[in-house]
Symmetry: C2
Subunit: 201 residues, 2 copies
DNA sequence: CTAATTTAATTAGGAATACTAACTTTGCCT
DNA sequence: AGGCAAAGTTAGTATTCCTAATTAAATTAG
């Protein structure tokens, strides 16, 4: 008997296989949406991802090494993509850092325009969630955030700035508390990518 | 104000953005798991995906054109990957079909071995679901299956063999019914990839 | 029943995505 | 000062992915 997640017969007998197979299809959808946008703008998927990331994160995270970790690719892959973005004039390299081996990446005005035209690539997907009730959205988010924490714990997603892995986070049963904001958090307040994140010691 | 799904600040005020951002991270995890397995076996991601798909679907679906639709890439991309798989002796081409332009792809014995060693690439993810209650799994699956149906309706996922899009499916309120199996379906009985699927007229 | 169109697959040519290994420069630590 | 580690690049290669053009077979239209 075949116990593969990707065997449709097996899926009928195991709900978790079905969920994983479903998430895999949703993965495909992200790929499709990103490529679609990429083709229209004459810019490649990883290049778009870098631009969008840089647009929304603090300077300290925007260098070759950390981007490589973020996107789970090697440094040469990022280095190459960054070179192309620089040639296209979409980014600026800032060497004014204490460590002269490294530099930070900023968007140029042209780069900002590209981001404005691409960062909504996933909105068709967000719109579909309107068909799901608020309550179901909350339990969906709860499941997703736990799953991501697990993925992080098992080093499948190496970089993650979630509350669960943050040193300011405190749990008591079903209660969540942030020691930095000094307040209780509902599950839907849990952040997947917090600006104030600091890893546990 | 920045309304991007990928802006962590905006995510705090909009749960659906957070869900989408989370699903995007999970997408990344699939990519990581697939690449990991690929590197170990000296075979590339798309090649693995083709082998796994062929292993679990009927002959009629296993040709260049349909694989291209399934994976949302162009026919030359599949043609090329298939050529390499053939050179590696992992597949067999079967031209015994009424249409002489086309052929079906089968796994060789060697190909079956590769599938056996790769098709579990997503099991680490399935295992994580054990931390989630049965009830939450059901509502998670319910949300995912609806989302996939929407993605299919909007032509983001062009190929999909779900109950919702099948001509044997009948809905009455919250009830699901399959006219082929002649039975009522619980939401967790809904299939994402049914062998008996036939598109609505 | 031939001619035109469509479809399946491949070929050709090119940009981008990945990798590993080797290298340069800089920083850090003893 | 010497040695090791880290940031980024360069070089070389396989693969992924595209579009456009080609070949051959099947279908449709007149």
């Amino acid at each position: 008997m075949n116990k593969s997640i990707f065997d449709p017969e097996y899926q009928q007998h195991d709900l978790s296989s079905k969920i994983i197979a479903g998430l895999e299809r949703i993965s495909q959808a992200f790929k499709v949406l990103l490529w679609e946008r990429a083709k229209n703008l004459g810019i490649s998927p990883i290049q778009i991802q870098i631009l969008i990331f840089v647009a929304h994160h603090r300077i300290a995270l925007n260098n070759v090494s950390l981007l490589a970790q973020e996107f789970n690719v090697s440094k040469p892959t990022i280095s190459d993509a960054v070179r192309v973005l620089h040639e296209k004039g979409l980014i600026v390299k800032d060497h004014s850092h204490s460590d002269n081996r490294s530099y930070s990446i900023f968007l140029s005005d042209e780069g900002k325009k590209i981001v404005a035209g691409t960062e909504d690539f996933a909105t068709p997907m967000a719109n579909m969630l309107q068909h799901i009730s608020k309550g179901d959205q909350e339990s969906l988010f709860s499941a997703i955030s736990k799953l991501i924490y697990q993925l992080n714990q098992q080093d499948i997603l190496t970089v993650q700035r979630t509350c669960f892995a943050c040193r300011f986070y405190e749990q008591g049963g079903e209660e969540h508390y942030c020691r930095l904001l000094k307040k209780r958090l509902k599950h839907s307040d849990i952040r997947l990518d917090c600006h104030e994140f600091e890893a546990k010691l």
